[in-house]
Symmetry: C5
Subunit: 382 residues, 5 copies
Amino acid sequence: MTHFHYDGRSDAPSTLEEELKEEDYFDYHYDEPGSEPGTLSIEPDANPSRIILIDYDAKHAIRRVDLMPKALIPYLGTNTVSWMDVQGLGSERVLKQVGEILKLHPLLLEDVVNVPQRPKVEDYNQQLLIIAHMVRPRPDEDGFEAEQVSFVLGKNYLLTIQEEELEDCFDPVRDRIRTHQGRVRESGADYLTYLLLDVLIDGYFPVLEDYGERIEELEDKILRSPTQNTLEEIYSVRRELLALRRLIWPLRDVMNILIRSSNKLVSADVQIYLRDCYDHVIQLLDITETYRELASSLMEIYLSSMSNKMNEVMKFLTVISTIFIPLTFIAGVYGMNFKYMPELEWRWGYWLCLFLMVAIACGLIYFFWRRGWFRNFYSTKN
Amino acid sequence: MTHFHYDGRSDAPSTLEEELKEEDYFDYHYDEPGSEPGTLSIEPDANPSRIILIDYDAKHAIRRVDLMPKALIPYLGTNTVSWMDVQGLGSERVLKQVGEILKLHPLLLEDVVNVPQRPKVEDYNQQLLIIAHMVRPRPDEDGFEAEQVSFVLGKNYLLTIQEEELEDCFDPVRDRIRTHQGRVRESGADYLTYLLLDVLIDGYFPVLEDYGERIEELEDKILRSPTQNTLEEIYSVRRELLALRRLIWPLRDVMNILIRSSNKLVSADVQIYLRDCYDHVIQLLDITETYRELASSLMEIYLSSMSNKMNEVMKFLTVISTIFIPLTFIAGVYGMNFKYMPELEWRWGYWLCLFLMVAIACGLIYFFWRRGWFRNFYSTKN
Amino acid sequence: MTHFHYDGRSDAPSTLEEELKEEDYFDYHYDEPGSEPGTLSIEPDANPSRIILIDYDAKHAIRRVDLMPKALIPYLGTNTVSWMDVQGLGSERVLKQVGEILKLHPLLLEDVVNVPQRPKVEDYNQQLLIIAHMVRPRPDEDGFEAEQVSFVLGKNYLLTIQEEELEDCFDPVRDRIRTHQGRVRESGADYLTYLLLDVLIDGYFPVLEDYGERIEELEDKILRSPTQNTLEEIYSVRRELLALRRLIWPLRDVMNILIRSSNKLVSADVQIYLRDCYDHVIQLLDITETYRELASSLMEIYLSSMSNKMNEVMKFLTVISTIFIPLTFIAGVYGMNFKYMPELEWRWGYWLCLFLMVAIACGLIYFFWRRGWFRNFYSTKN
Amino acid sequence: MTHFHYDGRSDAPSTLEEELKEEDYFDYHYDEPGSEPGTLSIEPDANPSRIILIDYDAKHAIRRVDLMPKALIPYLGTNTVSWMDVQGLGSERVLKQVGEILKLHPLLLEDVVNVPQRPKVEDYNQQLLIIAHMVRPRPDEDGFEAEQVSFVLGKNYLLTIQEEELEDCFDPVRDRIRTHQGRVRESGADYLTYLLLDVLIDGYFPVLEDYGERIEELEDKILRSPTQNTLEEIYSVRRELLALRRLIWPLRDVMNILIRSSNKLVSADVQIYLRDCYDHVIQLLDITETYRELASSLMEIYLSSMSNKMNEVMKFLTVISTIFIPLTFIAGVYGMNFKYMPELEWRWGYWLCLFLMVAIACGLIYFFWRRGWFRNFYSTKN
Amino acid sequence: MTHFHYDGRSDAPSTLEEELKEEDYFDYHYDEPGSEPGTLSIEPDANPSRIILIDYDAKHAIRRVDLMPKALIPYLGTNTVSWMDVQGLGSERVLKQVGEILKLHPLLLEDVVNVPQRPKVEDYNQQLLIIAHMVRPRPDEDGFEAEQVSFVLGKNYLLTIQEEELEDCFDPVRDRIRTHQGRVRESGADYLTYLLLDVLIDGYFPVLEDYGERIEELEDKILRSPTQNTLEEIYSVRRELLALRRLIWPLRDVMNILIRSSNKLVSADVQIYLRDCYDHVIQLLDITETYRELASSLMEIYLSSMSNKMNEVMKFLTVISTIFIPLTFIAGVYGMNFKYMPELEWRWGYWLCLFLMVAIACGLIYFFWRRGWFRNFYSTKN
């Protein structure tokens, strides 16, 4: 499994297994140096590839699952829209056959299979390759998971290749095709591509919203009870936002290129809809940048809060020492063994001495209290 | 109510209710993933929509309130300027009818209804959509409120859609139409749009001025009596300025596009006026950036002030300890029980010893005073 | 008086009056929300407007002061260059009459009167509006004052509008016209504009030089004897440089537009001269940015110096405590009242004990001295 | 040897020899001031130059080693692709002869020989010069080594010049030519150039991956047991990433220029392949920037961790002192020698006094424990 | 003498004289406000101007020194290349005569004489003005000196104006002309300009290399024995790099404009050579930026090292106090004068008590040692 994988570092120490996974954090796929361009590198633990076909026009819509690549041939070259959905990257033979049937450029196939790649659009004249990533919050934990989805848009067909067979976010679109809802059945493969991209992009919002909430919580924690763990959490939020931004930022270029593309595969009508996607990507970037700025402000405030808290404690302790030091000195004086120390003989000497000590202590406390050295201490506590 | 909502974090702990509101802070509206493009999502607590029509030309001006959408039809297609003002986003049926009557693109209607959106201009040939936000200082508190206003400019009409029914900042324009003041009654719907945008943009200045004053106050506080609350306030100012910038920054692009637009709906004459709006937006950005820079300088100065104050206190306390420690040592020496300690037998031993202690204390105090270790302490206090 | 106004925060606490003035710091003029575009807002304390006319060509040059606006009419439309200098913005009627006579666009007049505006060039075909600010060091104090000067360049005339009647920096140009020095009398109104802009821009250099000197002084102070006041001064320098940059930065665009302008009011010949002004503005920006970078380095060094100084003090005090603590412990041991303590009975016990104490103290001092804990202390002091 | 050379500063102090090498860190080659343009400066310790020729087309492929420059002539001007690989820059005569045979511009030869140069493309019409750097992880140590490789692409030939004779990363390409694998034998010299650039760029990924791992390790160290060495290591990582970025950043421009080049030496077909290289370079930059951001976050966290750790220690020690100071005071009181101190006569006075001391100690411990001053201490340790 | 002048602040306090010089640090020349454009301001201490002529073509080359300006006339308008080198800016009359003979624009002459100016190219059709600065390391001290050199390139002649008569870096070029080495004698004035610019730019490398070495040294100092002086040195390096960047940055634009210039004075052939200069300037910028980044990393590391060192000292001292405080308390207990204290009567009470003290001390030392509070201390020392 080569998808991105971020977990909010929890308080409990993470197990070794998790740490090994984390090494995938910021890496892209890279070819074994010296491998022939166009070589597919199948990961040993990748799911076998399943092919699901949805073929529709205004009048009919069929769905066939677990097809062999050759079974796709009759559906190509017709006027109906064919959505071929390949799930899982485990079967090299299947992927190569699909590539041959659709006449995919070897570099195109390489980008699709050797995940993860940076989001991008590539124009191969007869085909348009769009690479994007689907994100979802991690179940049971903080953080998010990302999975690469590649779109190959051709004349009257759309090929989507997903890293994994797990549930994706495309079900609402499938439902809409089935129930003939909205204008999807009347439109071409480009409109279908738009719908899928729209759903995929909308999936980033709940993930970002989670970060918004985590930042809110961190603000509270920092101002109330900052600990070392808070620091680790801020770092982890910054790091994950960095990773998110790396997925979203190139998506902006992707949308921009699609809107301005002169390739006939994307009609002017759909480009108006894509402007909407572009807006959403801009909003995502906006939010990400804002959160990153807030997270680094939080770092500064954390540092200041920590040092404030610590200083108050030290001040409190030092004030206590300072009150007792003169008293101890007085006790020391009357503990001296000089022969002629008149006070020692006085009837009320001891009581006078005690009274002097209490007076000095009160005087110092009053002095410190006037300067406000106790006040701050309590105000930050409560 | 989905408008932006920022409150200057006050000293008292904010109630849970307020915190829930705050979750709206930096979010844009996003579609339920998988919803059909063009779906309107009406918030349950949105105000029902009211329609107010002002129809005028150089000779007459009428105003009709609480119209049904169908009542608008006779006013369209005439040579008079029709300003249709929809207040509140609660009535889906009303909004859809308005959309049908004016032949609005479903995506346009979506942007108008699903608030908040990022400020932008979209050119739909027959219509121009402008999205902006009206801000006002929050009553009784620090911070500001923002409300989305959408302008749909068509041939001889302007449709404005406001999030809420509350008082807006457009009354001066309404008065000017009623009293036939200035050139508004002689001009078209584009001039009206300019007037409304101008009023809306001018509304940002008092909000920013408030932040200027809060920064001035914070400067004073920081240099006089910095506390942990000051820190929270700086953070809150930075955060709100960040939010303001997010409203103003895209407005610059909006004005820029309008000035350069080749769409006939905006005449060259009005574009000269819009240059003025553009200047104002640039000034707003200028001020915002300056305030943000000042606010982050303040953070540094706060940190330095705090640590200075604390250091001075610690120095004072440590100096006191340091003075008493040798004295206590001397008292300890003469508290020893050795049999042969000649000083103990001296007649004036005790007094000599006390004198020695006083001399040492004075010597140390003089030494510390010469090095200036007391001076700083007092100078920062007063 | 609405001009910018910056004072270097001096040691003495600033009076309330000064603080009220300071509220103008970073504000631009903004219209009363809802006011008709083109409304002139005259400040109550503005000086009444005076008009001074200088009319010249190669053969003659006349100067007339305190003219009524109507008296300007004969000088327009001739082949001589007419420089109309309006000083003070207090007389709305005068300003409006001037506007009518020269056929100024209402928005132009608004920008000229409602000060301060951001520096800019606006091309009204028949007229070119240039807004800039004149700066001078504040008399008797640190800081600088700025005053808006607007240039309206028309065919054979130049209208300058200054905020105040006070002395300006244009006298050398007036002298050159009077004494027929240089090529000014042979040239047109565009050359006059260049001369005035050149003088105005050269006026920024001495102001910036002051900041260079203040930064030099701050460097010395910081490395020798940093105090809290030094910090406030750094902040004040940064803030004023920020304000200066806001005046200079848009000036770059102004010069750039003038050099590239295709408007016939500025001849190609004068554009070569304006390139020189452009260079000067670039140099101003260069210096400002350098000073800002130096000022923020100074902040870091200040913080480090302060904490170094404080740490040395604390170290010194702690070293003293640490020396006495074992001695006090020994004294405590021989102050115990055990019955059988052989040392107490020794003839030289007391002296041995004192000797032990001295030895321990010397040992510790030697140890600390060897580690260099005293050295640093003295080296930073001197 | 003039290649870049970075070693991860290890714990052991680096030897003088290593430090002398390090002086090469960030330097480019520069001409002896005043030397004639085109002068070749051969380093005294450079390897003598070896020439290896691989000449191939679809039908044959030969390889000849240790050729004299003149032996190359027959292979030029044919229709077969000739790859001339010069290894080592030590033989001025050989290099000059090669230059004469291929008619290289003197400045081209200078860039190729006087290493290191910044990566770049230069178009000499008949030839295209591409300068890039090969990197590999240093054996046995952290850090990486870089070696300049220059590509001179001409009609049907490719000249590569490597700094050193050591193993390079081109073997997979050589194998593919030999075994007639992939389309290299059917393609021209431009495709060969692409293959070599691709291999070279892929070689950066494992180097960057090392840094990813070092950052992961640093994260762990910082949160568990930060030391001064950790700091040095962060600095060293930042510095080496800076050096890497300097190699990768200009490579982006190189690829960009090649993709857009209108020079016929690079065919449109190969430009599609070069787009893939461009993507890889973008990904490298992406990763480098992310690592740099992470490394500077780590610095902040390190500083905070260090000061947290230290503060906790100081707090612990101060708490201990604060507990004992009141007890010592009480002991001091009953050590006074007043004649009339009733408590001293009590039968259980001593025990009461001890009980009082224990009670005070427990009270203080409880008080400190309640405020959480012990808790933090233990939580950060474990 | 108005040239730039930077000295690395040495340990010894700089004399007043040096400080006065330093005021020139970041200033450009600016005109006396109000002076006529084209006014030459001769500094009182400027060297008198000397003129040296080198006139050459492929067949001959002559050199004449200390010419009067009029003596230059015969050499102009011929087909030989005339290089007129003016050294020193002290003689206004000479400079003006040169200006008249070569028909220099008054603004050109102003830029040449009123030093220092920002590096730039100005195209006066018949002439091309290039302003650059020659730098050299300061003799005997850290830091560098800069001197403005202006190049006026005309048809078949090159006029260079140097601020000072001192040795320049142009001797290698003079030698090459004299000895007919390279292609200079066959080429025009543009090739000569290229040669001189190349030599001038190459002169920056050794200066930057010095900074590289100073940064290396600072790294060592910081990690071994940071002092306040180290801080001042970092600041001084940053400041001088800032100044260097100000000289190099505009040089990039200069080279860029020259390469793209369509002015016939620079032939296409020489533009290929100038690309090489451009590369060198880019490399200079690269190095400068890298050093600036390293220098600010060093600042952070310095701060952290300092506070680490200090903290270790404080920890050591506090640990010592903490060990003695409980012992002193025990001594205090047995110093109390209660009548009934059974331990005091015990035969081995005193020894038991001493044993208890030693045990407690050892226990604490062991406890602190286990927590690693001594370890760090020693590891950072060595």
